[in-house]
């Protein structure tokens, strides 16, 4: 069966993800069970498996409907919920739609979706709950935290339908987030981090005890500014335009952009935010390897 929809995670990246573990610095050893014990099965909300009845099991755990069909006792088991959820905040403002001229089919948002799916895959692999919030003034949306493959399907479904439009959402729009993100949750923000509101949100989350991962997605043009000739540059969010000759603008843009990135990195560092960068010509798991790979640990 041909792939009608391109997979969010390329095969090689999916393979390399197996070597990674999502680790929250503050959560390790925090509640006894820890992040990696969530494989322990027991009662819970999320169905995991049926298991034949053994003496000692509580009678209320027996699935009586199944007994009616099969004339055997089966105990319904559920996964125990992990104490830590991974919240993925995906920036879906218009600036995320930007793509490089040499690869117009691979926009910043596509890479961000891939990163989101990879993060969800990591969380799923180690049994953590995960949630998605798409940050856009036009399409602010939430998928509440849950675990399991169905949650992954919900997330993929939401991602495939997602498009980038509008600006970064206002603070009032983001109020539901504060209710839902648990006090010790891991928050990964996938964005280009150009909007100061994004950094503001991250620093406040970090200050409120959430562990924040800053995942920055940049285009090749922003890193190298490899343009030549006359251009009419247009900011997709403000609509502001600028006419200029790319060659004449290059040196100063690179200097100013590097300075801005240094300022941003300093702000992350001050807020205790771990950060990693993905440029569109790099493999999708580059920031994940930097954050969770063997070298990083």
């Amino acid at each position: 069966m041909p792939d009608l929809i391109a997979p969010l995670i390329p095969g090689d990246v999916r393979h390399r993800l197996k070597a990674l573990t999502l680790v929250a610095r503050r959560a390790i050893g925090d509640r006894g069970l820890g992040l990696h014990t969530s494989r322990a099965r027991g009662s819970g909300l999320e169905f995991a498996a049926y298991r034949p009845y053994e003496p000692g099991d509580e009678p209320r755990q027996i699935d009586w409907k199944l007994y009616g069909r099969s004339d055997r006792f089966f105990v319904r088991e559920a996964e125990r919920e992990s104490p830590v959820a991974l919240w993925i905040l995906l920036d879906a403002s218009a600036s995320m739609a930007q793509a490089d001229a040499r690869a117009p089919g691979y926009a910043r948002l596509d890479a961000a979706k891939g990163l989101t799916a990879a993060l969800a895959e990591l969380a799923l692999a180690q049994g953590d709950r995960f949630a998605l919030a798409t940050l856009s003034a036009d399409a602010f949306d939430l998928i509440p935290a849950a675990g399991g493959t169905r949650q992954r399907d919900r997330l993929h479904h939401a991602l495939q339908a997602l498009g980038a439009a509008g600006g970064f959402p206002a603070e009032a729009t983001l109020a539901p987030l504060w209710d839902r993100i648990g006090a010790r949750d891991l928050v990964g923000i996938v964005s280009d981090w150009f909007d100061p509101a994004c950094l503001d949100l991250a620093t406040r989350l970090a200050a409120a005890g959430r562990e924040v991962l800053a995942l920055q997605v940049l285009t090749v043009t922003e890193r190298d500014f490899d343009l030549d000739g006359g251009y009419r540059f247009r900011d997709p969010e403000t609509g502001e335009e600028l006419l200029g000759d790319a060659a004449a603008l290059r040196a100063e843009f690179l200097a100013r952009f590097a300075a801005a990135q240094a300022t941003l990195a300093a702000a992350w560092h001050a807020a205790g935010i771990r950060h990693a960068r993905l440029v569109l010509d790099e493999p999708l798991d580059t920031p994940l390897q930097a954050l969770f790979g063997r070298v990083a640990r």
């Binding site: 540059f233 100013r256 952009f257 801005a260």
Partner: protein, 367 residues
């Protein structure tokens, strides 16, 4: 280098065409989404420096057009001839011993003295002026002439350079002028005055006097004294270059005439009109002593013979030392060698180069 047609350089305006074709399209502004716009500083518009694509091809095209414009302007190269001394020897003078200078006969085409001496009269004065005009300005010119010079004209040659005028040799004897041929006489007895004319011709020595029925000899002047139309043979005689004298009663083709013999009162006695290459003369009066008393004059035979004499040539013999060329002519334009054939070949080569550059498989980045 001079241009014979400087207006041809207006074709240089065509140089703008390849320049326009190769001008990189700078004015185009590609719209681009760029989220990091806030770090792009609005600079004053960059100075518009025209940039060109495919410089090599552009250079070939410009060179091609420039050479074509130059060909249209007809360039000539002047002053390229070596200023070698020239010794011109007039026919009749002794050829001086060779001393390294170019020695030519003073004859049309200026053949070298190793060629045989040109025969016949040559217009020496005109040739001296031509030689002076054609030689490069620095070339020394020596003219060797005999003591008595043939071929002079009405003015001493006026030349732009100093000419060494050497007189060597005596010169040629004057050409013998043949005596004028006497006309034959054909007459009709009804023309009364024929006997006067016949007597005059006999006195001059002409024996061929016969009635009109006698044949007319070819290539001889003729006196035809008969009424009626001039016979075709006589007309053919005149058209072949001879002189035919007819009586007043003879009918001849109408044509403008001039008087060639007038009496003492100025009235015309004989009129002439051209006919073919020859001439047709006609008595205007009846040939009777009452109408034309000159018939009885003792010098009538000589006057009659003078009608048939050839025109005297212009005097052309001078003493050479009185005919030395005088300076003062305006300096002639130096002789020029045309350059445009070579340039046309260069244009053809450039065209081939341009075609090769424009059609080769690997071209530079397309504009």
């Amino acid at each position: 280098m001079n241009l014979l047609f400087p207006l041809g350089l207006a074709a240089l305006a065509a140089l703008a065409l390849p320049l326009l074709l190769h001008l990189a399209r700078r004015t185009e502004q590609r719209p681009t989404d760029f989220a990091a716009l806030r770090w792009l500083r609005q600079k004053p518009r960059p100075r518009h420096r025209p940039r060109f694509d495919e410089r090599l091809l552009l250079a070939a095209r410009l060179a091609l057009l420039a050479v074509i414009a130059l060909v249209l302007a007809l360039p000539v190269l002047t002053g390229t001839d070596t200023a070698r001394a020239v010794v011109a020897v007039a026919p009749g003078a002794a050829v001086p011993p060779a001393d390294g200078a170019r020695q030519v006969w003073l004859a049309p085409g200026f053949p070298s003295v190793t060629a045989p001496r040109p025969a016949g009269p040559v217009p020496v004065a005109s040739l001296i002026r031509q030689l002076d005009a054609e030689l490069p300005p620095g070339a020394a010119l020596t003219v060797v002439v005999p003591r008595i010079l043939d071929g002079a004209d009405a003015e001493r040659p006026r030349v732009a350079r100093r000419i060494a005028w050497r007189i060597v040799g005596e010169g040629l004897s004057p050409p013998r002028v043949p005596p004028p041929a006497l006309p034959v006489l054909r007459y009709d007895p009804t023309v009364a005055g024929a006997r006067y004319v016949g007597a005059a011709l006999r006195a001059l020595g002409q024996r061929d006097i016969a009635p009109r029925s006698a044949p007319i000899p070819r290539s001889r002047p003729l006196v035809w004294l008969a009424p009626g139309a001039l016979p075709a043979a006589a007309i053919a005689q005149a058209e072949a270059g001879n002189i035919v004298l007819v009586a007043r009663e003879t009918t001849i083709p109408a044509s403008p005439t001039v008087a060639v013999w007038r009496d003492a009162d100025g009235a015309a006695l004989v009129e002439a009109q051209p006919l073919g290459r020859g001439r047709l003369l006609r008595f205007t009066r009846r040939l009777a002593p009452a109408a034309m008393p000159q018939l009885l004059d003792p010098d009538f035979p000589h006057r009659l013979a003078a009608l048939f004499a050839a025109a005297e040539p212009d005097p052309a013999r001078v003493l050479a030392d009185a005919y030395a060329p005088q300076p003062g002519a305006p300096a002639p334009l130096p002789p020029a060698r045309p350059l445009w054939p070579m340039l046309a070949v260069a244009a053809a080569l450039l065209f081939l180069v341009e075609r090769w550059l424009a059609t080769r498989a690997v071209r530079g980045p397309a504009p």
